[in-house]
């Protein structure tokens, strides 16, 4: 009976107008359901205690029982991640714009930026907390540090990757460096910037969580820390799930925005 209904349902959604949507949604949805089933079977059959691995129903009920608690802390983490990312984005684009016009400055700044990138953020985090205190600022600053390098490198590459013919055309028009930057370099770099955003956005969530671990009074990172200490594994799982959802949400939004902004890359030539 269930299989018959499922077959009918799949037949409906895989035909007609819903077909392209179904091809995108149904396969990952089935995989998620399969993972949940395997999770449930393993936990029940092996008798794993819920402080080690809870069942997925326990995780869902945790979210259902304390919705406002999770929404409040999720919003804090989201705000920290987003603020740090925006700060990193503005600073990186500005720095890349300066670097592309000055070789000496590029050669001077690049090693410092690289040093910051390769130093584990978790090693610098305690220092940042000492310097900036226990408010939002250290978390936002840690997020800024973790996100700015990929954007800086991609922005710099994009600003440099100007088509030679287009550049010559601007020169023929006696365009100033500022006009060339504003009307040519910046737009050329937009696809590169979106590629960087796709790397930096998940990093921004990591940055916010690391910051919360060290300041530990609000946000999903601090909940993870507290629930881990108190062996409240279902709360811990619920927080991890929400962090994944925040990362996915931000990435999906970036992808949608990219298709709108960089429209010329997603269209087929009629030639």
């Amino acid at each position: 009976m269930i299989f018959k209904m499922l077959y009918k349902f799949l037949n409906i959604i895989f035909s007609g107008k819903l077909k392209p949507f179904a091809f995108k949604i149904v396969p990952p949805l089935f995989l998620i359901i399969l993972i949940l089933l395997i999770w449930e079977i393993i936990v029940r059959s092996l008798g794993i205690p819920d402080y080690v691995v809870p069942t997925w129903q326990q995780v869902i009920s945790e979210l259902y029982m304390k919705p406002m608690f999770f929404i409040e802390h999720s919003l804090i983490t989201l705000m920290e991640a987003f603020s740090g990312f925006i700060l990193g984005m503005i600073f990186s684009i500005f720095l890349a714009a300066v670097m592309v016009h000055n070789n000496l400055l590029e050669r001077s700044i690049y090693p410092i930026a690289l040093m910051l990138k390769v130093t584990p953020i978790i090693a610098i985090a305690p220092l940042i907390v000492i310097w900036l205190g226990f408010g939002y600022s250290p978390k936002i600053f840690i997020t800024f540090l973790i996100t700015f390098f990929p954007i800086l490198i991609n922005a710099l590459t994009g600003f440099k990757d100007v088509d030679n013919n287009k550049y010559r055309f601007f020169q023929i028009l006696n365009a100033s460096k500022f006009e060339i930057f504003l009307k040519l370099r910046f737009f050329t770099a937009i696809p590169y910037l979106f590629s960087a955003f796709k790397i930096s956005i998940p990093l921004s969530v990591i940055g916010a969580v690391v910051g919360e671990w060290f300041t530990g009074n609000s946000g999903l990172g601090s909940i993870i820390l507290v629930s881990n200490n108190e062996l409240q594994t279902s709360t811990l799982f619920a927080s991890i799930l929400l962090l994944s959802l925040i990362g996915c949400l931000l990435t999906v939004c970036t992808n949608l925005l990219e298709k709108k902004v960089v429209f010329w890359r997603y269209n087929i030539f009629i030639d």
């Binding site: 023929i172 737009f187 010329w264 009629i270």
Partner: protein, 266 residues
Amino acid sequence: MVNILENNSILSIQKVDHCYDKQDTNKLSVSNLNLVINSGEFVSIIGPSGCGKTTILNLIAGLLSPISGEISIFGFTPKDFRTKKSIGMVFQSPAILPWLTVFQNLLLPLQINPVPSKNSQQQGIVENILSRIQMEPYSDFYPHQLSGGMKQRVGIGMALVFDPKILLLDEPLGSLDEITRGHMRYDLIENLRSKNKTIIMVTHSIEDAVVMSDQIIVLSKNPATVLTQIPVKFSVNRTKDLEYRTEFISLVNQVKKYLSVSTNDF
């Protein structure tokens, strides 16, 4: 600057040398180049691959400077002449910006050099160019919605916005297929030759050069120097029939012969 130009000549290149590596001036890209081009002439420059054809166009446009010799356009240096907005340039892959519509692309030169400053006048100029390149119905289209030939017409339109006295064409038909290329040759003749502009075109195609030019300059292998200048004495109004005439075929063979001498010289 001393005016070294002859009566009808507008462009004079005298003993010009150029090299890209300023540290090693023995590696010349252009050597002892001498050329005189008359007003209203359509001149094609043809030569082996990598011989320095585009370098010559860049020198004329003032985008590069010679290490010795003199280039004079209407008595001005190329850089000074360029600031008068009197040079237009068309490239093999048109310099159109994919994030702007056809109309916005044609408006771009007027936004960078706002002469005239009134929006309505600027729009009038763009509309005039649109009709000249027969792209009025496509004014709101983005480049990705256009064919290769249409894009090249927009590229030509962008170069014509300031009605330049000299037009430099850098392999303008190079990226087009054979059929579109055949049509575009006559499109260019109709759009440009009749407007009494001085046109200098760099090309790999002997047929393009013979169909469109008044004079063909064959260059030697790198460093570029003038091997020979061949006058093309067909009537001004040229049609596709020209390509089937014996004079045309013999001229094509003559250029081929010089080009093979130039290429074998490698």
